[in-house]
């Protein structure tokens, strides 16, 4: 199952994207129950592409909340493609493709 849930809807030529990503977003300062520091683990980059064009790039640090929410807008059309992908500091990544409604 994808770690990304995304909805993209067009109105008056503007596409609004709302996305929720499943990710621990560990700061690197928290400790586990045994008192050991949990190493930082966070999304670094979120990339949004529509019809082959990059419409938004987000660079995130550890202070974006766990299971991040991200909303943004761009000029586009219903029926266009949207691809959203993230990459984290451990090199893990995920992506999802949807059609703009």
């Amino acid at each position: 199952m994808s770690t990304i849930r995304v909805r993209a809807a067009e109105r008056d030529g503007v596409v609004t994207v709302r996305a929720l990503m499943t990710h621990p977003m560990e700061t690197g300062t928290a400790k586990d129950s045994a008192g050991n520091v949990i190493p930082p683990h966070h999304i670094e980059t979120v990339l949004a592409e529509s019809e082959g064009n990059t419409v938004m790039t987000a660079y995130w640090g550890v202070t974006i909340s766990r299971n991040p929410f991200f909303q943004f807008q761009f000029a586009g059309n219903s029926g266009d493609s949207l691809k959203l992908s993230w990459t984290d500091n451990k090199g893990e990544s995920d992506s999802v493709e949807t059609t703009i409604g």
Partner: protein, 156 residues
């Protein structure tokens, strides 16, 4: 002869197709993305130093930027923030929490047709000014809003 050439051609285009699929699936993208993440700007730094590292400047005129955030956030782990502006030709935006150990929360590069707005949820260790910055026509502008935090959200 002709059929041999055709076979070689087909083989070549098949190989190119595989690379295309790999790029499209994001298999080749992560290393490029990782290289672009501005690690210096996300360091634990005093606020002014993080501005310099993230934006290359600390002196910014006040801009017509709207920050929507709760006046009092009960849970510093999850503080919803929306930043939007009507300023023209916006290429980049960023969001800082002055009192956080790592003040830069996030930075945004606007691509083709992007509307200058974003909304996300951030962690705040304690009550702090939240500073949004917008690069309009090549110049950084800023706006500030205070958010009081009841329970801090960076330690655990």
């Amino acid at each position: 002869m002709t059929s041999n050439k055709r076979r070689v051609f087909l083989k070549g285009s098949l190989a190119a197709g595989t690379v295309g699929v790999a790029v499209g699936a994001g298999l080749l993208a992560p290393s490029k993305l990782l290289a672009a993440w501005p690690s210096d700007a996300f360091q634990s730094l005093p606020f002014e130093d993080s501005l310099e590292a993230a934006l290359g400047t600390t002196e910014m005129p006040e801009g017509e930027i709207e920050i929507t955030a709760p006046e009092i956030a009960e849970n510093g782990m999850v503080v919803p923030v929306t930043v939007e502006t009507g300023m023209s030709d916006v290429s980049e935006m960023a969001l800082f929490v002055v009192e956080n150990g790592s003040p830069l929360t996030s930075k945004y590069i606007l691509g083709a047709g992007a509307v200058p707005m974003f909304a996300t949820r951030i962690k705040m260790g304690e009550s702090s000014d939240v500073v949004a910055t917008v690069k309009s026509n090549g110049t950084w502008y800023s706006a500030t809003r205070e958010v009081k935090v009841t329970i801090g959200g960076c330690g655990g």
